[in-house]
């Protein structure tokens, strides 16, 4: 049999055509982050919660904020009901505040036994929700963030208080953002703080984070090395206690870029699935590239662009930098608006292109 297939079976995947919005581009009001000061608190402490609400260029609506909490779920095995559909039943929600920022006092109604139990292992997580709504356009968004809760201060155990103060998580504080153009030879040229960004030009944004912003902390784990998973269930309490390890860790800071327009390059080395035991930071300092190309673009060049740089520390701490710059077409040769964006030189081992 001789068969001439006009189309290979392999092109079947070409029927995958969908046009969904990029998660990293801001089309409507969204909550991108919440900074809790402090991110780790004790029962009875007061915490200021500041949201990062992103608005698209030209947004003219009015944002109403509503801070929500949810009644304790029955399934609290992992702290405050880490279920798939947390507080799916909205009748169990109640309003904490309608202010732009929330000042939250950690209540003593939290299940103390669980707070105590989880105090050695990443703490008890109290989730707080912010719902924003455009009073005019009707768009709304909901986001929640965990506050790490530790047991209340114990005057009878000053050592515990001291240890808590030493180990508690803090938010990173970011330095000013540096902006460079990146040419074909990877040469960096600083861009003035008030200069307009131009089309068809690669920009590199850098946050030269002080290493001191990366906290060391201790982690408790039960070591199952060398044990068949089916035999774990047979371990006695004594054997489990013998396998408890206290490990010194260092925070891994991660950068994410959101924008109102343009495309961005790689902002993070991919995390290895296994054996990721390197102590050196996988990406440091935090850098990301961005460009807005115009060839083939149907929309007009925006008068301004807004960029949000968010750093998280993996334990609930975070900080951000927001940049709004005027934008102009400039004189650079046009490049295809869908072309991949060159990544920062330190991340070149991986393919270029937008990574959502």
């Amino acid at each position: 049999m001789v068969k001439w297939l006009s189309v290979s079976l392999l092109v079947l995947t070409s029927c995958t055509t969908y046009e969904l919005e990029s998660e990293r581009q801001i089309y409507r009001p969204r909550v991108l982050a919440m900074r809790m000061d402090p991110p780790e608190a004790r029962i009875g402490d007061q915490v200021r919660v500041t949201p990062l609400v992103a608005l698209p260029i030209g947004f003219s609506g009015v944002i109403d904020s509503t801070w929500l909490d949810c009644e304790q779920s029955e399934n609290t095995s992992d702290g405050d009901g880490e279920t798939r559909d947390w507080c799916r039943d909205r009748s169990k929600e109640f309003i904490l505040s309608t202010a732009d920022e929330l000042v939250y006092t950690v209540p003593d109604t939290l299940p103390k036994d669980q707070v105590e139990q989880f105090s050695f292992v990443a703490g008890f997580w109290k989730r707080l929700t912010l719902e924003i709504k455009d009073r005019i356009g009707g768009d709304q968004d909901r986001a929640f963030k965990r506050l790490v809760v530790q047991p209340a201060a114990n005057p009878l155990d000053p050592q515990a208080d001291a240890r808590f103060e030493m180990m508690r998580n803090r938010n990173p504080n970011l330095p000013p953002l540096e902006v460079f153009t990146l040419d074909d030879q990877d040469a960096l040229t600083p861009v003035a703080q008030d200069a307009a960004l131009q089309a068809n030009t690669d920009y590199l944004f850098r946050l030269d984070i002080d290493k001191a912003q990366r906290q060391d902390f201790q982690s408790f784990r039960i070591d199952f090395t060398g044990i068949d998973p089916s035999a774990v269930q047979d371990l006695t309490q004594e054997e489990i206690e013998q396998r408890i390890r206290v490990e010194n860790r260092r925070e891994l800071l991660r950068l994410r870029l959101y924008r109102t327009d343009g495309r961005y390059g790689r902002d993070q080395k991919p995390v290895r699935t296994f054996a990721s035991t390197e102590e050196d930071p996988e990406y440091y300092p935090a850098e990301v590239t961005w460009a807005l190309n115009t060839e083939g673009r149907t929309e007009a060049v925006p008068p301004k662009v807004r960029l949000w740089f968010i750093i998280i520390d993996g334990r609930g701490g975070m900080d951000w930098v927001v940049v709004e710059r005027t934008f102009e077409k400039g004189v650079a040769a046009e490049r295809n608006f869908e072309a991949g964006i060159k990544s920062p030189p330190d991340l070149r081992e991986t393919p270029d292109g937008e990574q959502d």
Binding site: M1, V2, K3, W4, L5, S6, V7, L9, L10, L12, S14, C15, T16, T17, E19, L20, E21, M34, D78, R84, W86, R88, F118, V121, A122, T129, D141, R142, A143, F144, K145, R146, F220, R221, I222, D223, F224, T225, D228, P229, S230, V232, Q233, R243, R245, L252, R254, P270, V271, R272, T273, F274, A275, I312, G314, R315, G316, M318, E349, T350
Partner: protein, 880 residues
């Protein structure tokens, strides 16, 4: 000859003559006074110079009598006969015959020294009865044109074909070997015409030179609706509630299957549609999981029907002779399945001649060879094989600038080798078959991937190798015995990067034997054994939680993973015994009570299942047209080896099972057309589910027998089998509902099965309008698969993704599926070569059938991923 034809000199001896002369002169003188006696001695005896021989008397013909006459003949001196007297004659008729001719004799007269003299001589005439008169054979005319008549394309000899030299009234009929001879054809042009029932007549002009003989082979093309090929069957004495049989002629022509016969099953009632090209490792039959159905090749279970889960079938299409599909309610013969049965019945290799086929396409190449062994008609062989080469071609494409960063490279091959013995009712066969699948996800630049710290590639590997020895024979008029022995090895393996791999192999032995004993004309007893042994070896290195640590969402969780190396060996065996009595009562009612006992031993755990089954079939008047049928029974199955694994499953899992009930009606107005309606209900229990109480490192097993399910529905099939009529095909409709009892994290409730499809309508219609042309079309309209609605989402700032807010489970559906496929085919033949040109088009209307949704990050919008687009395939098949 009547007369002895002896010359007188031989019959009249001289001593006797002299004696006569001495004794008779006086008498002669007395009688012939006028005759002068010779004076002196004779110096010359009379010598016959002219005279005919007397004929054998007609009156004595048939008497068988031989005899003689002794006559006294007086010859005058001129040599003329003057008088004849009978001295002695065996029969008066002999004398009459002699007298009829002898007076006309002329002699050289006798003479003495003085001259010629009258002489009396004694003459003896002998008479012999004539032998049975044999007609003189007509001299045969010379053979001018001879040869054989064969079917074009296949070379099959056509007995009783008529061959005529038009206009010369010369005709011959081919013998049983297809050979013919035309004699007496005149020199010059002969318009030779050959014809046979079911074939197009063919004319050929032959120029014959003087004294020339021509030998040739005439090939006749079969008509599309070939009456010679139609097999008319009455109702088979069926032992299963519903058996849907697809025959070879239908199988290769179903549009949308690319000539892959096994895929035709997906168009039958009771089979749900699986996404994209289907297959997916099995069939979804009456709302059950694919692995719950049983797949057999000639009675021996096979682990997969298709390469790579949903690719080409693992059996060469040319060796698929028939497909039996039993959607449920089957008899005790089949076990270890709780859904449907698919039995591929391979075609025995042909022993009448050597034939073959080579096929080449963009994806793979294959061959088929078959023929007699050592010229024996009772022993034949068959060989076939196939190998893909996408892995070779794809890098040529992906190396082009702009190609994808990674590609999927499927590699598959299969083989079948067989010996078939056939003598009388005895059949035996030895078969070797197997297949091998490799699926590699390869980066376009392995070095770059390695520098980036990405895995060098993902590969999975699996396959089967089998040897099967089977046979069937009649022990006596009442007893038939069938049996098979299978030895095999199946394996699966894979790797992900350098750290993760797994290799599992199963050595297997299967023994099956069935015996049918006719207790009487109405009562048959069918029993058999079904034994299987499996030896599983597993070697794996997998990621595992190397410790327990509670990590904040978004934290560096990866450091908690470790690698675990495991070796596991399990042994299992299954022992099945079944018995069924087929009783025909009142000439209309057939009862089939049966029972099956299956015992399983897996890794030291015993399980036993007793499965009663009952079927009843009632013929309604007029006989053989209307049939009512009911069935009920219990079915069970051992969970999959992976589910019973010590390391990954739960070795204490129980058998999962179903109770199945069916009620059906068949109407068969003629041998080729029938209507089949079947209602079914299936209750599923002990299904294997994830244990909601399972916690990594905890004491609860990961899997438990906590699943319940139910499926019910109605199947309708209108079918016209291939016949002398030009139309064939079927229309199948299934109305069904399949549910599972969801004991998830919400309130327990019945929810839809993930591939529940309320309406499944399939039509396969082919039309053969002659001269080798045929057109086929398949239409499928199916309710969309259930989905769970998304009510919105909340952004989890720590994890940095939106968590969807789901509605009630599987309460929404994808859009309905509709697809029309088309196949246009032209068959022609030249001598022993057969060619089929075809166009096979998938999704003729290019409908965008949504297979699943991709949701926007915030669940506000979604986009459907469509299935197969408009997909034409053009081709030609060549076989000889």
């Amino acid at each position: 000859m009547a007369f002895g034809a002896n010359p007188p000199t031989e019959t009249v001896s001289l001593p006797l003559l002299f004696l006569l002369l001495a004794l008779s002169p006086d008498d002669q003188s007395e009688q012939r006074a006028s005759a002068a006696p010779p004076k002196g001695g004779l110096i010359q005896l009379p010598e016959l110079i002219n005279g005919g021989t007397p004929d054998y008397p007609e009156a004595l013909i048939g008497s068988g009598k031989n005899g003689k006459c002794i006559l006294l003949v007086d010859i005058d001196d001129a040599g003329l006969v003057q008088e004849i007297n009978v001295q002695k004659c065996d029969d008066p008729a002999f004398a009459e015959a002699a007298f009829a001719v002898m007076p006309h004799y002329t002699f050289i007269p006798g003479a003495t020294a003085t001259g010629t003299v009258p002489v009396r001589i004694t003459w003896q005439a002998d008479f012999q009865h004539p032998v049975e008169a044999k007609p003189e054979p007509e001299k045969p005319k010379p053979v001018r044109i001879s040869g054989k008549v064969r079917e074009g394309g296949t070379g099959v000899v056509l007995a009783a074909a008529d061959v005529t030299c038009v206009g010369q009234d010369v005709y011959a009929r081919a013998d049983e070997r297809g050979r013919f001879e035309l004699r007496g054809v005149a020199d010059g042009d002969c318009v030779l015409q050959a014809s046979a029932p079911g074939y197009f007549a063919r004319k050929k002009t032959i120029k014959l030179k003087p004294n020339e003989a021509v030998e040739l082979t005439l090939y006749l093309s079969p008509k599309a609706s070939n009456a010679m090929r139609t097999v008319v069957r009455g109702r088979k004495e069926e032992t299963h509630m519903t058996r849907r049989i697809l025959e070879a002629e239908e199988l290769g022509r179903v549009p949308g299957t690319f000539g892959d016969p096994i895929r035709a099953i997906e168009r039958l009632p009771g089979v749900a549609r699986t996404p994209f090209l289907g297959g997916g490792g099995g069939l979804v039959v009456r709302g059950a999981e694919p692995q719950d159905s049983g797949y057999y090749l000639d009675g021996v279970p096979i682990p997969a029907l298709f390469h790579l889960g949903g690719g080409p079938s693992v059996i060469h299409p040319d060796f698929v002779g028939q497909l039996d599909f039993l959607p449920g309610g089957f008899g005790a013969h089949y076990g270890r399945s709780i859904a449907g049965i698919v039995e591929v019945r391979s075609r025995a290799s042909r022993g009448d001649r050597f034939s073959g086929k080579i096929d080449v396409d963009l994806l793979d190449s294959g061959f088929r060879l078959e023929g007699p062994v050592a010229g024996r008609k009772d022993l034949s062989f068959g060989l076939s094989g196939r190998r893909s080469y996408i892995d070779v071609l794809l890098p040529l494409v992906t190396s082009v600038a702009g190609g994808p960063d990674a590609s999927i490279q499927p590699i598959y091959w299969d083989y079948q080798a067989r010996l078939d013995y056939k003598k009388g009712t005895t059949r035996a066969g030895l078969r070797f078959y197997g297949f091998d699948d490799v699926l590699v996800l390869a980066a376009s630049d392995d070095d770059a991937a390695a520098r980036a710290g990405e895995p060098p590639g993902l590969g999975i590997h699996g396959g089967v190798h089998r040897m099967v020895l089977d046979g069937r024979m009649k022990l006596d008029k009442k007893t038939e015995l069938k049996g098979s022995l299978m030895l095999g090895h199946q394996f699966t393996g894979g790797e992900f990067g350098e750290d993760i791999y797994w290799n599992a192999g199963i050595n297997e032995l299967g023994i099956r034997s069935d015996l049918t004993y006719k207790l009487s004309k109405e009562h048959h007893f069918i029993t058999g054994i079904d034994i299987g042994f499996q030896d599983l070896g597993l070697e794996t290195q997998l990621p595992t939680v190397a410790g327990f640590e509670r990590v904040f969402p978004g934290g560096a969780f990866t450091e908690d993973l470790g690698v675990l190396k495991l070796d596991e060996n399990d042994r299992g065996s299954g022992y099945g015994v079944h018995a069924t009595v087929r009783s025909k009562l009142f000439d209309r009612l057939t009862l089939l009570p049966g029972v099956r006992l299956d015992a399983y031993v897996w890794d030291g755990q015993d399980r036993l299942s007793v499965e009663p089954r009952l079927q009843a079939r009632l013929m309604l008047a007029p006989k053989d047209r209307h049939l009512l049928k009911i069935s009920g029974g219990k079915y069970s199955k051992l969970p999959e080896p992976a589910e019973l694994s010590d390391s990954f499953g739960n070795p204490e899992l129980e058998l999962k099972g179903t109770w199945q009930y069916g009620l059906g009606y068949e109407y068969r107005p003629d041998p080729f057309f029938h209507v089949d309606l079947t209602a079914f209900y299936k209750k599923m229990f002990n299904l294997v589910e994830q244990n909601p109480d399972f916690v990594s490192g905890g004491s609860a097993p990961g899997l438990i027998n906590n699943g319940d399910g139910r499926a019910y529905g109605l199947e309708v099939m209108l079918r016209h089998r291939p016949s002398p009529r030009p139309v064939y095909g079927w229309i199948a409709y299934t109305l069904s509902r399949s549910e599972r009892y969801d004991r998830g994290d919400r309130d327990p409730e019945w929810t839809l099965f993930s591939l529940d499809q309320t309406h499944i309508l399939s039509s396969v219609v082919g039309y053969k309008w002659g001269k080798g042309w045929s057109l086929g079309t398949t239409v499928r309209w199916v309710t969309g698969n259930p989905t769970t609605p998304r009510l919105g989402a909340r952004f989890d700032i720590d994890s940095r993704f939106y968590r969807p807010l789901r509605g009630d489970r599987r309460t929404d559906r994808l859009p309905d599926y509709f697809q029309m496929d088309l196949r246009l085919e032209k068959k022609s033949s030249a001598k022993r070569n057969s060619f089929i040109w075809f166009v096979d088009v998938l999704n003729l209307t290019n409908r965008q059938n949504i297979e699943f949704y991709i949701y926007q990050y915030d669940q506000r919008a979604y986009s459907g991923i469509a299935g197969v687009p408009f997909f034409p395939s053009f081709g030609i098949e060549w076989s000889w």
